[in-house]
Subunit: 295 residues, 2 copies
């Protein structure tokens, strides 16, 4: 292996410690950051995500409120709950675990959350601030997690060619927006490739920094990587694995075993971008509390 | 000259005719689209812009209201005016001519305009919708003008490599967002290069579609263009010209005489993107009236 490992566990632990310190500081001022988490229905994956977010809040001294609604919750009840949390001065961040059941319109949920409490940075107003380079909104958790991994690994994207594979609203598009800003830790030449791209491999091979967020298991092969490039793997894919007791294993969008021989630095899956996402959610919750309470 | 000319005058005339037809249709339903234009101070260029917008409204049957405030207008008076226009059901679009005098905060002005009436598409909420691919907001006038020029010239960006030179909030960033969407008339592989880019020429030379929006006179030379590429010039630069009675001439960001020999299609300056910007403003005003009044 020639690549150094970008260790998301260590870096997220550092970020979490900083967040816990900020919580302590805020508590001294009588401000107790609080995240409200809404779970609708009983999707097992969603239950796990919610449980780990609530647990992380507790670890960092952040209050949390968990609201569980039934699978057949009426839209009006969901929106009434969001509305009451929007108005509650003791709640600083609101998160609805996606996907909701089919009767609940995902976009309407996003639009209903007060932008000031939208710690996921899904609301159009916060997404717009992101593209415009305004820093008084939030930064979306997974893309900001990638930026922080680079920063903490002393990898400066400035002047480099960053190729983002995938154009999802959750990762690819906001990450491209972050990377292209005229700002410290950004300022990259950015290319976004996607399912509609021709000769995608040529673009990836030209990249100094590759961000894989296309949702295809081990899509990025060693032959696609310029020697010495930095490779960040945002993918989380379950693939069959008869040798595992669970019958599956989790792999990223990058063929780790091949790419680690070519790249200069690489994130593993799991243990790369994954732990950063919750760390950024925690940091956003504290930022929300600060913005709302510190005058 | 090998390149065909992308004629913004002809295309904008066609768009304007469609807009005038839509105005006629709306009037039959008792809806009269109305744009409010606010001019603060006496900047000569701003006066010309405002005059031409008001004149174009009149040509297309759109009502307009021109509000002129003095150079030393107090911020509270500006915001009170915006607020009253936000609340006025007979006003569908609101535009503040920029730049405002120094005592007026540009960003605060943008944020004060109701997103539903923000026909310039400067409000973060509308910018966010743009990046997210939501079509119930507005599309920014100059970037959408570029997209419409391509569409009307039967140039489909899908699968092509579009290189946007410049990352301004008004042109480069929103144009990149438009071009990368999974949508008809878009779906391009998009690279954004800018002042922080290394080897910018290599990227431009790789492009099937070049959009120059960097604000440097005749920056894009013939040698930077791949034979057969499409070149769209968003620049409007005044350069000294002793042979002109005015003492200056207006040139784009593209060295037209060189590039026209290499490209397959090119926009002139003036007469390319320029006339499209106001055409898109008019279309947005009619869209605003429709969204606000047609239930």
């Amino acid at each position: 292996m020639s690549a150094s490992l970008i260790d998301g566990k260590t870096i997220s632990a550092k970020v979490n410690q900083e967040t816990a310190n900020m919580v302590e500081e805020l508590k001294k001022q009588g401000i107790h950051p609080c995240l409200a988490v809404i779970l609708i229905g009983e999707d097992p994956a969603s239950q796990i995500y919610v449980r780990s977010k609530v647990a992380r809040c507790a670890e960092l001294g952040i209050l949390s409120r968990k609201h569980v609604l039934p699978q057949d919750a009426r839209p009006e009840d969901v929106f009434a709950l969001i509305d009451s949390l929007n108005k509650d001065p003791e709640v600083h961040g609101i998160l609805v675990q996606f996907p909701p059941p089919p009767q609940i319109d995902e976009k309407a949920v996003v639009d209903a959350i007060l932008p000031e409490k939208d710690v996921d940075c899904f609301h159009p107003q916060n997404v717009g601030k992101l593209l415009l380079g305004e820093t008084d909104g939030f930064s979306p958790c997974t893309p900001q997690g990638v930026m922080t991994l680079l920063e903490e690994s002393n990898i400066d994207p400035s002047g480099k060619h960053a190729v983002v594979i995938g154009r999802s609203n959750i990762v690819g598009k906001p990450l491209a927006a972050l990377l292209m800003q005229k700002a410290k830790g950004a300022n990259a030449t950015v290319t976004v490739v996607h399912s509609g791209s021709k000769n995608m491999e040529d673009f990836v091979r030209n990249a100094d920094i590759v961000i894989a967020a296309i949702g295809k298991p081990e899509f990025v092969r060693g032959s696609m990587i310029k020697p010495g490039a930095v490779v960040v793997d945002v993918g989380i894919n379950r693939v069959q694995d008869a040798s595992s007791p669970k019958g599956y294993k989790v792999v990223g969008d990058v063929c780790f075993d091949e790419v680690k021989e070519v790249a200069s630095a690489i994130t593993p899956v799991p243990g790369g971008v994954g732990p950063m996402t919750i760390a950024m959610l925690m940091r956003n919750t504290v930022k929300a509390a600060k913005l709302q309470c510190v005058k």
